[in-house]
């Protein structure tokens, strides 16, 4: 009985619209509970300011995002630009780190399988270093790269490199052998097999690993920024903590969530449009 109704509804609403409606409903539910708690005076607005409060005063919190605007008397436009700059700094660090991690681990993983000698030389070190948490690399990153973008990017890269190198190896090993055999019969050289067959065959799988590690990458950048590699949303989190500014803290959380959400959607779109095949 219910089947025809479902069909009819699908006609009216495309998939993404249904998904969007549920997202909005879900967020609205939790925001509503929060607002209700504030309305009933169960939640102290100084400690748990409800969404309408921490989202309303963008100009106040935006001012705190950077020391150039924090003390002076910036114009509204300057404040908005400050927010964008901070968000941009964090986002860019994540993106460059992701790209570096993807490219280098792909190259190293393929080189290990391409040259057994290289593999024997490199694998033991990779296996030894893989368990070291990216946090452990933090002092090293700051010692080598000092302050600024480089150490944050390096940490994202490190967080991805070992996982993705091992993933590359396992993806190569699990390819259907007929892919390589067919290429050999058609006269492909070893290099051609790696570039024309193995690389495209493993890319979609590797991109999935990248996507799974997106949030870890975002987290590691925030941690690096919070210990002071310079600027970024992670620094704002620490400012909020040091000044006990709940409004700033929640606003920043909201922004971080939004950044992660948008990055995830972007990666998913790349997967769907560029890497549509499955190995």
């Amino acid at each position: 009985m219910s089947a025809p109704t479902v069909k009819a509804r699908r006609k009216w609403l495309p998939g993404f619209a249904t998904a969007a409606i549920w997202s909005i409903a879900s967020v609205a539910l939790f925001a509503g509970i929060w607002e209700f708690c504030w309305y009933m005076r169960w939640a102290n607005p100084m400690l748990m300011p409800p969404p309408h409060m921490f989202l309303q005063d963008v100009l106040y919190v935006g001012k705190l995002f950077d020391k150039s605007t924090r003390l002076g008397n910036p114009s509204d436009i300057e404040i908005v630009l400050t927010i964008l700059k901070t968000v941009g700094a964090t986002t860019m660090r994540v993106i460059i780190g992701l790209i570096a991690g993807l490219v280098v681990s792909l190259a190293v993983g393929m080189a290990i399988r391409y040259s057994p000698l290289f593999g024997k030389l490199v694998m033991p070190v990779i296996n030894l270093l893989a368990p070291v948490s990216p946090i452990g690399w933090l002092p090293v990153a700051m010692l080598i790269f000092g302050l600024g973008d480089a150490p944050a990017i390096f940490l994202v890269y490190i967080a991805l490199f070992f996982i993705m190198t091992l993933a590359t190896l396992s993806l190569i090993d699990r390819l259907p052998s007929s892919y390589v055999q067919s290429a050999r019969i058609m006269g492909a050289s070893r290099l051609q097999i790696f570039v024309l067959v193995i690389l495209p065959a493993i890319l979609p799988g590797l991109f999935v690993v990248l996507r799974i590690n997106l949030f870890a990458a975002l987290m590691i950048v925030l941690i690096a920024e919070s210990v002071g590699v310079g600027g970024g949303l992670g620094l704002v989190v620490i400012i909020a903590r040091n000044t006990f500014d709940a409004q700033l803290a929640f606003f920043t959380m909201f922004i971080i969530g939004a950044v992660g959400f948008v990055l995830d959607i972007a990666l998913r779109q790349i997967q769907r449009r560029v890497l549509y095949w499955q190995a």
């Binding site: 007929s178 055999q181 019969i185 051609q192 067959v197 495209p200």
Partner: protein
């Protein structure tokens, strides 16, 4: 056997494939060594259609891999047109049970992949590939991706990809096993036509006795592992063959008998191995 068109590279009279006392032990020298083939000798004539029939695990796929030059043999020798096989060559094409088309390429790019490796110009290889796709009944599917095709269409495309290299030997490892009966019958007819047109020799592995009888000039029945030749059954009937033909009826019974012994032996051996493992455990 009849001598056919593309015998250009062959020294006079040399068979398309000649297996001489071929042996293969997988993992030789380890405690996991498995003797897959033993003392296997067979000549395949030019434009001959040979079907390999045998119990599971008797080394049929192994033999095709060795002939393709993808694996090293551990005893004997294999020659293609009188020349010892030392590695893979596009003259001996292997078609797998599951199509090995590349899912990131369109159908036409798949078919022209080998031509690209040969350095053929883009426009030219596209033309060749398009013509081949028409030949295998896939005209109009050039820009589709492999996963948009049915299983039968994918195998046709795989055949087109092999034909693009103009091989003189087609090695086919249960190419139609994953297809439904109707599609399989259609593809058998299709393959016969391809085989006639191309003048290639075919070595075709199957588990289906009816398929063997529909296709083969000769059916080679394997013993259980280590695989060697139990019997060679020539079939001298014109194609297309009617499965209800009384002559084929007798033949079917004969093949079933030949196979049944070996299948029993293969199973007995597997049970023995299982028992040994149980004792060990």
């Amino acid at each position: 056997m009849s001598d056919v068109s593309n015998a250009t590279t062959a020294p006079d009279g040399a068979p398309a494939i000649s297996c001489k006392s071929v042996g293969k032990i997988w993992g030789m020298g380890t405690d996991r060594a498995v003797e897959a083939l033993k003392d296997f000798s067979l000549d395949v004539g030019q434009n001959e259609f040979v079907v390999l029939l045998g119990p599971s695990g008797c080394g049929k796929s192994t033999l095709l891999y060795l002939i393709a030059g993808l694996e090293d043999l551990t005893a004997g020798a294999i020659e293609g047109h009188g020349v010892t096989v030392t590695g893979p060559d596009s003259d001996r094409s292997l078609i797998f049970q599951e199509s090995s088309l590349y899912p990131w390429l369109s159908v036409v790019e798949n078919v022209s992949f080998g031509l690209k490796l040969r350095g053929m110009a883009k426009g030219k290889r596209r033309k060749v590939a398009e013509r081949l796709l028409v030949d295998v009944g896939l005209g109009g599917f050039e820009s589709k991706r492999p996963d948009e095709l049915s299983g039968g269409m994918r195998q046709r495309a795989a055949v087109a990809r092999a034909l693009a290299m103009e091989p003189s030997v087609l090695l086919m490892d249960e190419p139609f096993a994953a297809l439904d009966v109707q599609t399989r019958t259609k593809l058998q007819d299709f393959l016969i036509q391809i085989w006639r047109d191309s003048g290639a020799s075919v070595l075709f592995v199957t588990h289906h006795i009816d398929e063997a009888m529909a296709l083969a000039d000769r059916v080679v029945v394997f013993t259980a592992r280590p695989g060697t030749i139990k019997s060679i059954v020539p079939i001298d009937l014109p194609r297309p063959r009617d499965p209800r033909d009384p002559e084929l009826h007798a033949l079917r019974d004969h093949l079933i008998d030949l196979l049944a012994d070996e299948v029993d032996r293969a199973f007995a051996e597997q049970e023995q191995i299982a028992d040994k493992d149980k004792i060990r455990a």
